[in-house]
């Protein structure tokens, strides 16, 4: 058997579209005796960009693979990322009082169906402390009771990101607006769950709005956060039917379940490098 010490890597590759890209990319892989196991690609007619994600088995160091692909990327004015397949992504969760999304993330991480590790749950209330403790995850709470406190909270977010090598920040019903500066700093790695499906009902208490409007479906949207509130690129959306007989309270309960499922699926897509950005749209290689 040729593979003395087999490594499995995940690669993403994007560049302006044109002929020969796949051949060049796979050529680099072939030269390293790599074997492509799963591959998806997409050419965007809207932006003229090419997107590719693949998983590859190889017996060389990942560095060699990265260097080889970097050369190809340079030739096509593109970008490449390589990572160890299945590596646990260092993820900070920002929460508030509601446990359902935090609980879903931590329990999926625990059973191994969500490849993240959580160095810290940071919240503006104490309520989630026992939940974090159950899952053996560090927890910290800092009240946000004014603009200064909010700035201090966000400063703490930056510190943790830096000290703990955080790659992804998840707003798990954090309920606060993130400052435009922090949104920009975390562009493409700050995910939020919106309690209703965008661009449906925006702003406060969407379930009350949905109930008042008499909708027959409610849902949730997971999206990247940008300074333009609730308008960041959409990652995942789910809906579930409701009837006239559902109260606002019941719609919130139904909403909690669908929020937890939708956010978890979006974080999983991110952690597996399945989300690529095509302007304001996402390419999802599911």
């Amino acid at each position: 058997m040729a593979y003395a010490c087999l490594v499995r890597s995940v690669v993403t590759f994007t560049c302006p579209d044109g002929p020969g890209i796949v051949h060049s990319v796979t050529g680099a892989v072939v030269l390293l005796d790599g074997n492509i196991l799963e591959s998806q690609q997409y050419s965007s007619p809207d932006t003229g960009r090419f997107f590719m994600r693949f998983e590859v088995e190889h017996d060389t160091a990942r560095d060699s693979l990265h260097t080889a692909l970097k050369d190809v990327a340079r030739r096509y004015h593109g970008e490449v990322t390589t990572d160890e397949a299945g590596r646990l992504v260092r993820t900070m969760i920002l929460g508030s009082k509601a446990p359902h999304c935090v609980s879903a993330l931590l329990s999926h991480a625990r059973v191994g169906s969500l490849p993240i590790t959580v160095p810290l749950v940071l919240a503006n209330h104490d309520d989630l402390a026992p939940l974090a403790q159950f899952y053996g995850v560090p927890f910290e709470s800092r009240p946000i009771d004014g603009d200064d406190a909010k700035a201090a909270f966000e400063q703490r977010v930056r510190e943790v990101i830096s000290q703990q090598d955080i790659e992804l920040v998840v707003l798990a019903r954090y309920m606060r607006i993130v400052s435009p500066e922090l949104c920009d700093e975390l562009a493409g790695r700050l995910i939020n769950i919106h309690h209703s499906f965008l661009p449906g009902f925006k702003g406060a208490d969407p379930y009350a709005q949905a109930h008042a409007r008499g909708v027959k479906l409610i849902g949730a949207t997971a999206h990247f956060v940008t300074a333009d509130l609730d308008e960041g690129p959409i990652i995942a959306q789910r809906v579930t039917p409701v009837t006239h007989a559902r109260s606002v309270q019941q719609m919130r309960e139904i909403g909690r379940d669908i929020e937890a499922v939708t956010l978890t699926s979006a974080v999983k897509l991110w952690a597996e490098h399945r989300i690529l950005l095509d302007g304001v749209r996402t390419v999802i290689f599911d």
Copy 2:
């Protein structure tokens, strides 16, 4: 057997909520030796109104049933409707060029899964003539090329309603804004299909908007038409998942299917007296 000549009726009953209503309503049915076969009720906490729909077998004339229930309704300051179960509702379809919704309505009517009869398909183009002909349904087209023409078109709608005893008017991708006056005249019996789910994308070419926004779900909403465009009470909503790889054109195709299914289901609910109005919301007794 007690029922010499068995009749099956559908009854709807609404009034301000309070104790004893169901007992009084069913009391009237019992006195006529009726047998309730299917019954649904709902008390709206929002408006304080009570809603009931039931199907009843009886061997008396429907007139007697109606008179008896009318007495109960008077006592509770409510309203009652009675109808023959399964009767074909006289429905006018307004169309334009797109065949998918008209085709769905006529084919379901033909096979007996949609209890309507269609005295006329009225359109502002000729395109749907052969489709109507295939189903043996009268067809008439009148161009709408100005404000006068539109007023004349709507006058023709009123004439047909009057001459043909039309009960329900369905906008099957009619693509024109109905005048506020006609909306008011047809309040509660004018149904539209909106090509996207409300209150999502409003106005022109929602699939292009949905595509640009990168949504992961598209859908359709069937609703009553009111003078307030696209804000009438919602009857039915459906969605289907889409990926980044779907072009605007493909999203339109997917949309066509979901529009046809959603509109057909809403018309069926209406024809079976399963839609009651609770302010701006619908109560659906499905």
Copy 3:
């Protein structure tokens, strides 16, 4: 205000179908000055039985309501149950090693969206002990390593039911066949989650079977347990799409989520008295 001390009760009523039942039932409620808030009924053409569920507000003792309805039930050779609306149902959970269903039940009970209280989680392994501890729920494990041990385990189930006034027993991935005797003793109050949709794949490792067969949907079924394995009355079913690219392992993960959601919804229906038995079918008043 007339209601000095308002009580809200849930009532179910079933009997052979015939005229006048609803009038008689509601008459008893009217005599007690009760106000019916939500009501559903169904007449089964298959078995000729009548089913009704309603919620009622009254200022009398529940005993008076029950006695009055019992009289009506006697007249119609039927059965009646009355209960306090929202009362927490005493539920024993039987588990094994897999945490997902137990976790879903306990967390929904904790946040108040599932009206059960759990006096004991009883399992044949220790794995779930910390989970129960987190939710402050008593836990007990007893290995089952032979026929005698199984009989002893089931004897312990009977003891707990008796000592703790258990009303409902839930098999949350318990992975053992319940003896026909215990099935009979717990008829109508023993719920199982089947990992695949019935009557699809029965027996061992259904996800492997589903994968081998190349299905495009997988799902879960919550059902009452009867001595006839996997053939008890179906309570709830859900499915989710899968593609050829899903491995057996991934299908199991997807399956875990859908099992947890489906079982939780079935237990909620039971705890709210929304499930009535119509022969081998269930009537669900959702």
Copy 4:
């Protein structure tokens, strides 16, 4: 612009899995100055086979492309198909009395959302003649009232296939068992719609079976036909929720809609070369 006369082709490529395949395939495309627009691939861990489908723009004749790829296929002991993208696939429809599936296929073909052309609808009854006539499609009926008649009918199927260059045969509620011989002759190009989801209820009147069992979901399965009845590779499956209140007749109506949608989607996948066979499973490049 380099492309004097631009051609768009669809290519499928399968072979035993191994390193370098994609590089070789795309190399052949690059040599012809082709530009890959959409590409999907899959390596089956079950069978060890590699599957690829892509669409390519090129200005050479399709023959040159096919020849070049054929060389690559030979090297990898694989198989290749090339076709003009969007070409209408010559499809024969076999029907009986029920119109819903035939109607869905013909109307989607008419509006251009299903790339097939239908040289003949062949049925064992006259009922569908006007439907075919409306869509301008030749129709022929031959009664099947015995074994000899069935053999003659199938002989006619063979004749039409040969004379009309039929590529795909669709059983649109044909309601007859196809002989094992004809199944074998048409392996991989004979599609059926099964009224219920496999491997759920097999055999006669599945809706009656589903109703008797009290299922909460009904659905449909489109699959390739093999001599092993209802066990051919699954192409597409859909379900829809039903309640206890649905009669067998209503379940059949709901089923008709879902059958038509599911069959149409399967035929579209086939016509676009999106279905590849991986043993008894299908790989769907959607």
